[in-house]
């Protein structure tokens, strides 16, 4: 049996769209339409797909985005991913992130972004997000869980975006334009000072509090 050219996988992090890079645009288009039609109602308007491909042409990426846009769907971020792990590797590396609050340790799935998130880029995840780089002005991180930036955070970050008030934002240098946690918003001061230590933002007594932490 030939392999599917297009695969849609659901996960805690939302939907992932896997596309065979050897397929032509026409084949991809037909497959995506077929897949979407098989399960209407499964993909409500506004659903974003994380596009997972080895090496797709830009024009193909654009084409996929267009097909999805026609149906009110979209591509959220195309990350260059390593090839999918083999079964063996999979069992050794569940991507988990432990958040501690009130003595409970909760495991959540985590999206790891291994580069600086630049202006105009957006990362959205149902779980937590770890950025191994900076979050630049004009970039956005939206996470169901917590956000950890191992670098300077100058963009907009929204942790606990679906209402989790225990979510936190941590950064080596926390100087975002806005921090949102659950339904609370903290705006940056108009004159931003460079912070020299890692900081954590969290909700306490109905307010977003920022405090230095040890890393």
């Amino acid at each position: 049996m030939s392999r599917d050219l297009v695969t849609i996988k659901g996960g805690k992090d939302g939907f992932r769209l896997l596309v065979d890079s050897s397929a032509s645009m026409e084949e991809i288009e037909a497959e995506i339409k077929k897949k979407l039609d098989e399960n209407p109602g499964f993909f409500p308007e506004g659903t974003k797909f994380e596009l997972e491909v080895a090496d797709l042409d830009r024009s193909v990426k654009k084409g996929i985005n267009q097909i999805l846009n026609q149906r009110g769907l979209g591509v959220e971020l195309s990350v260059k991913k390593d090839p999918p792990p083999t079964i063996d590797e999979q069992s050794q590396m569940p991507p988990q992130y432990f958040i501690q609050h009130d003595g409970n340790v909760e495991a959540q799935e985590m999206t790891v972004v291994e580069h600086t998130v630049r202006g105009g880029e957006e990362v959205t995840s149902q779980g937590s997000v770890l950025v191994m780089g900076n979050v630049n002005p004009g970039a956005q991180i939206i996470a169901g869980g917590s956000i950890d930036v191992r670098g300077t955070c100058r963009g907009m970050v929204h942790a606990g975006a679906w209402g989790d008030i225990s979510a936190v934002v941590i950064a080596d240098r926390l100087m975002p334009t806005q921090i949102r946690i659950a339904n609370m918003i903290a705006r940056s001061p108009d004159i931003m000072e460079k912070s020299d230590f890692a900081e954590r933002a969290y909700i306490k007594d109905g307010q977003i509090i920022i405090e230095p932490i040890e890393r």
């Binding site: 830009r58 580069h115 600086t116 630049r118 202006g119 105009g120 630049n136 002005p137 004009g138 100058r154």
Partner: protein, 265 residues
């Protein structure tokens, strides 16, 4: 080993064409074989900066559409024989050339030239995608200005998504006195945000404009700080390790002289 470099910026008017012209002349002065390609179709002006407008016979579109051979369309520089310009059309629009065309063209040119430098149009539309298609290296030009740095950041992201990972930065039109007084972003802030290798810091210099008007890029002019800065960039492109220069500030004395001159007139 030849290198194809695209000069890009995101925001318009920050100095892409000026940079392209100066690096082209600078590399030619160092004996390299250089060809410059203007891809800002509809708005060409690289020929003006090089003083070659009246010598244009054919253009990029003629080459891409197969009407003439590349060799016939190249315009040789008046002073430096080893510098050629492939101008573009002022009447066609950017859709006349596509990424595959430019890639093929660059591959052809790299056989004969040490450096192919492509002047990119502003923006992130099709013209940008076309301009970057055949490049090994991208030079992002920005100015010490919040909006220009943001656009540079977006362009760097875009280059990354197009699998262009060799990206270098030039900060243009720096006014040291304003940086000192905190009215202009300083180099560390810009480098901290953009986080790519900086190969040039060029001061704002009236000589850039006056020399452009004469069709002679400032790079050979040792009286000009910008000219010196471009010379340094050329050296760095050739692999030399050159420290960034300290700018002469427009000090109290100079200002006084100016004020004096003004009041005398």
């Amino acid at each position: 080993m030849s290198e194809v470099i695209v000069v890009t910026s995101g925001k318009g008017g920050v100095g892409k064409s000026t940079t392209t012209a100066n690096l082209g002349v600078g590399l030619a002065m160092r004996g390299k074989k250089v060809v410059l390609i203007d891809t800002d179709t509809g708005l060409r002006n690289l020929d003006l900066l090089l003083g070659l407008e009246n010598r244009i016979m054919y253009d990029l579109i003629d080459v891409v559409e197969g009407r003439v051979e590349i060799k016939k369309a190249l315009v040789r520089h008046k002073k430096y024989e080893n510098l050629q310009l492939l101008p573009t059309s002022q009447v066609k629009d950017k859709s006349a050339v596509n990424p595959a065309d430019l890639m093929a063209l660059c591959d052809e040119l790299r056989k004969e030239y040490d450096f192919v430098i492509i002047d990119c149009p502003a923006g992130i539309e099709q013209g940008f995608q076309t301009a970057i298609a055949g490049a090994d290296t991208a030079i992002v030009v920005t100015m010490p200005e919040v909006s220009a740095v943001r656009d540079a950041d977006k362009i760097i992201g875009e280059l990354g998504r197009s699998e262009k990972d060799n990206i270098k930065l030039i900060i243009n039109r720096i006014r040291p006195a304003m940086v000192d007084s905190g009215e202009m972003m300083d180099m560390d802030d810009i480098n901290d945000i953009l986080a790519i290798k900086c190969i040039g810091q060029v001061p704002d210099d009236i000589k850039v404009v006056t020399s452009a008007n004469r069709g002679e890029p400032v790079v050979g002019d040792s009286d000009s700080q910008a000219g010196k800065a471009y010379e340094n960039i050329v050296g760095r492109l050739l692999g030399e390790d050159i420290p960034f220069m300290e700018f002469e500030k427009e000090g109290f004395f100079k200002k006084l002289m100016k004020a004096f001159k003004l009041s005398k007139d």
